[in-house]
């Protein structure tokens, strides 16, 4: 584990990504404790420009709400949605892919056709439809993002398992009389996991973007402030008050960039061929 962290550190862009992500997580965890004011409360006159008052460093929006407080509280929602929906997608995608790849044949055919069914529908359109049907709430948003993002996981895991299945150590486990479940769990999956971890870090980034897009369209949870909601709410007055959209937009940009850098760094660290090669 330590060696692995050192690998990640050696990659400067991965390190930068890690710093950004850790900062974002720290803000989400401890920010609301330091700024106990609700982001929905009006604290100043509307359209106060940024850097004018130290109490509201990033200005206020059309209703006089603190943009800085919004960004801090929004970090919770954005990161939470990203994390939980990715975990849910993994929970669906990994078992499906593993079963399809391990057993092959008709089971594989059936599961993969099912997966393709989801892949053929444009994912954002499907997410919008799902949220609209289920009523916008944090649960329906997480569910719909998970539903549109598990198919790539299933495909990836299936491919990995398919190639691992013919390895001699898997055959050795079959010969020693292990059950299929044991073999998948102990022999196959641990060796298939590193590309999945990389994919997962990128999926969190995509999920944050999806949530932002949904909130921007007004399909966010009405009780929770999120970065996407703030960008959406500020877009009508972007010419008079640029700061209402730009700062939450920057927050999205930075956290997605950070996650992407971490994903790339993980890829380099977990890929033995890249990590050791002198070239």
């Amino acid at each position: 584990m330590m060696r692995f962290l050192r690998q990640l550190m050696r990659n400067p862009s991965g390190l930068i990504g890690l710093i950004i992500v850790v900062t974002a997580i720290a803000i989400a965890l401890f920010g609301p404790l330091i700024f106990p004011t609700s982001p929905w409360r009006m604290v100043q006159r509307p359209f106060l420009p940024p850097f004018a008052l130290s109490a509201v460093p990033l200005g206020t929006d059309a209703l006089g709400r603190d943009v800085f407080a919004g960004i801090i509280y929004g970090a919770r929602v954005s990161l939470l949605v990203g994390l939980v929906s990715t975990l849910a997608a993994l929970a669906v995608g990994i078992p499906l892919g593993a079963v399809a790849g391990y057993f092959g044949g008709r089971i594989d055919d059936a599961l993969m056709r099912f997966t393709e069914f989801f892949q053929t529908i444009p994912s954002f359109a499907l997410a919008i439809v799902l949220v609209a049907i289920l009523q916008p709430s944090i649960y329906s948003i997480v569910a719909s993002i998970a539903i549109v993002s598990w198919p790539p996981v299933a495909r990836l895991v299936r491919g990995e398992v398919l190639s691992l299945r013919s390895r001699e150590y898997v055959q050795a486990a079959i010969v020693t009389g292990q059950t299929h479940r044991w073999i998948i769990w102990h022999e196959v999956l641990p060796n298939a996991l590193s590309p999945v971890i990389v994919l997962a870090s990128l999926m969190i980034a995509t999920a944050i973007l999806l949530e932002s897009s949904l909130s921007f369209l007004g399909l966010g949870d009405p009780n929770l402030i999120s970065w996407g909601y703030m960008v959406g709410a500020g877009r009508t007055v972007i010419r008079q008050a640029w700061w209402i959209t730009v700062f939450p937009g920057l927050a999205i940009l930075l956290s997605v960039l950070g996650l992407n850098l971490v994903g790339e760094g993980l890829n380099d660290a977990l890929n033995p061929r890249l990590a050791r090669d002198g070239r």
Binding site: E168, Q171, V175, T176, Q178, E187, D277, G278
Partner: protein, 540 residues
């Protein structure tokens, strides 16, 4: 007075990246290559023999550097050459033949075009002349039907034909020096014999200097004029082939030669009338690759009416070339694949008709040792877990399994401390011992060894063979021993079955098979075993 050497390597030292197992891949190596002479560079894996070849071709990886020494070629030192200088030299003056012809050829280019590319790369001849020349080359290296084959793609050729094509490419520009890096290791014995003869003939007719890298002393005996023995990057012995093979001076050379199994089978005790441990009756297996909508299916007959039985305490060898179906038979016997027809009987239980838990229960009676010691152990599990997983799956108490695991490791000659370590911390031979311990953990009656020693160096191979033989007698095991190496088969098997294209063509007592082979294919196989003209093995 001898003519000047074509290549003179002097005090060559190649540094490995820091933190490797040793500081230098090649340390102070000196030898000459003379025109019209084949120099065999012999050594076990990791001895630095391939590094020598790559240094001579300017193909060293970026992470290693030639730190000291010179390679004199045509009167100048070629070690400090830049990429342009190398490009001019490679192919034209020094050419190379690689180990694996399938990966060394471009799969998307016709053979003839790849040969013509040699001239194109050096800006020689017109396109028409290049085509004619590649046809001549194909003819010279003995490719059948040259007009057709220059238009074929690599996958349409057999392994031997591909290697011939590689040799043709290497010879295209009439190089002064040919470097051959294990050119026959990936080939079957009969093909190997042909390729060796081809290299020998071409080398004589063109008066080339050849550097031939190999680990196989049989090949050395057949082809070498001079021999250089490498160990840990240092030359331990060099001299004429007759001297090195006949009167080896260095103890390491002697040990290597002693480890080469003899082709003469030792006297074996008659087994008398014992019970059959396992019986295979009429096994059939056909692989069908679906051809899609408009093409017919491709079928390969891997096993056809394969029948044999193994007595208790007996070793049956299954020999044949690649694609003969011997590995399929091994997998059929342990039921990793299902037979189309036929039965496998262990004692009075029919293994072929069992399913689910009943099959899992019976599996402990027949265990398998795999070929590749690097692929057959899960890299993420500790050795202790790998060995005790099987007994625990069969209901053994984890504590008991741990104790048993310690005993097994001692049995195969490993330290009990190995339990807490991961497979990558072990060498190839040690890993194979772990694989054997895993197979023995379930106390099987029958062991199936699928090319269990093929991936190992000769000295390690000899140790593992001794271990298997010893365990077999001590535990009263029966063994199905699959190999392509007739020398190994001669040493360990009581009886040998010869397979060709999925059929057992001959099955006899080992001594009888070697003394009087009946089937023409058996005779062909025996004749192709390298190193029979000179005595290479010091064992027995």
């Amino acid at each position: 007075m001898r003519p000047d050497p074509a290549v003179a390597i002097k005090d060559l030292r190649i540094a490995l990246p820091r933190g490797g197992e040793r500081a230098y891949a090649v340390d102070g190596v000196s030898f000459d290559l003379n025109p019209g002479e084949i120099v065999c560079v012999v050594g076990e894996s990791g001895s630095g023999k391939s590094m020598c070849a790559h240094a001579l071709m300017g193909l060293l990886p970026d992470s290693v550097t030639a730190e000291a020494g010179t390679i004199l070629f045509e009167g100048r030192n070629i070690v400090p050459l830049d990429e342009n200088g190398w490009r001019d030299l490679r192919g034209r003056r020094i050419a190379m033949v690689f180990q694996e012809p399938m990966t060394a050829l471009n799969p998307l280019m016709r053979i003839g075009d790849q040969m013509a590319e040699m001239f194109e790369a050096h800006g020689l001849l017109s396109p028409r002349q290049r085509r004619d020349k590649s046809l001549d080359l194909a003819r010279e290296v003995g490719l059948p039907d040259p007009e057709r084959i220059v238009r074929a793609y690599p996958h349409q050729l057999s392994g031997g034909q591909r290697q011939r094509a590689m040799i043709a490419m290497a010879l295209a520009l009439e190089p002064a020096v040919l470097v051959a890096d294990e050119p026959t290791t990936a080939l079957d014995v009969t093909t190997q014999a042909q390729i060796l003869k081809l290299i020998r003939d071409l080398q004589r007719s063109r008066n080339m200097a050849v550097m031939f890298i190999t680990h196989d002393f049989g090949v050395v005996a057949d082809i070498a004029d001079r021999v250089v023995v490498l160990r840990h990057g240092k030359v331990v012995e060099q001299g004429s082939a007759a001297a090195v093979l006949g009167q080896p001076q260095h103890p390491y050379t002697r040990a290597l030669l002693a480890a080469v199994p003899s082709i003469h089978p030792p006297q074996r005790l008659a087994l008398g009338d014992r019970n059959k441990a396992i019986e295979a009756i009429g096994l059939d297996k056909t692989y069908v690759t679906s051809g899609g909508w408009f093409r017919p299916d491709r079928t390969v007959q891997a096993a056809s009416q394969v029948s044999f039985s193994i007595l208790q305490g007996e070793t049956l060898g299954l020999v044949g070339e690649s694609g003969s179906g011997k590995s399929s038979v091994a997998r059929l016997v342990v039921r990793l694949i299902k037979a189309d027809r036929g039965t496998v009987r262990i004692g009075d239980i029919d293994l072929t008709c069992l399913e689910g838990n009943a099959l899992r229960d019976q599996r402990r009676r027949i265990q398998m040792i795999f070929q590749d010691p690097f692929a057959s152990l899960n890299p993420r599990r500790k050795v202790g877990q790998i060995i005790s997983d099987g007994p625990i799956a069969h209901g053994s108490d984890p504590k008991m399994a741990q104790t048993r695991c310690r005993e097994l490791l001692a049995l195969v000659g490993l330290d009990p401390g190995a339990m807490e370590r991961y497979p990558h911390e072990f060498s190839g031979g040690q890993r194979q011992r772990i694989g054997i311990a895993r197979a023995l953990a379930l106390e099987p009656e029958i062991l199936v060894a699928d090319e269990a020693v093929s991936a190992l160096d000769v000295s390690v191979q000899a140790q593992v063979l001794n271990l298997l033989e010893d365990l077999k007698t001590r535990l009263g095991l029966s063994m199905l021993f699959i190999t392509h190496d007739l020398r190994v088969a001669a040493q360990i098997c009581d009886r040998i079955a010869v397979m060709q294209r999925g059929v057992i063509v001959e099955l006899k007592q080992t001594a009888a098979l070697f003394a009087a082979p009946e089937h023409s294919y058996t005779r062909e196989l025996l004749a192709a075993v390298p190193g029979q003209k000179k005595q290479v093995s010091l064992s027995k």
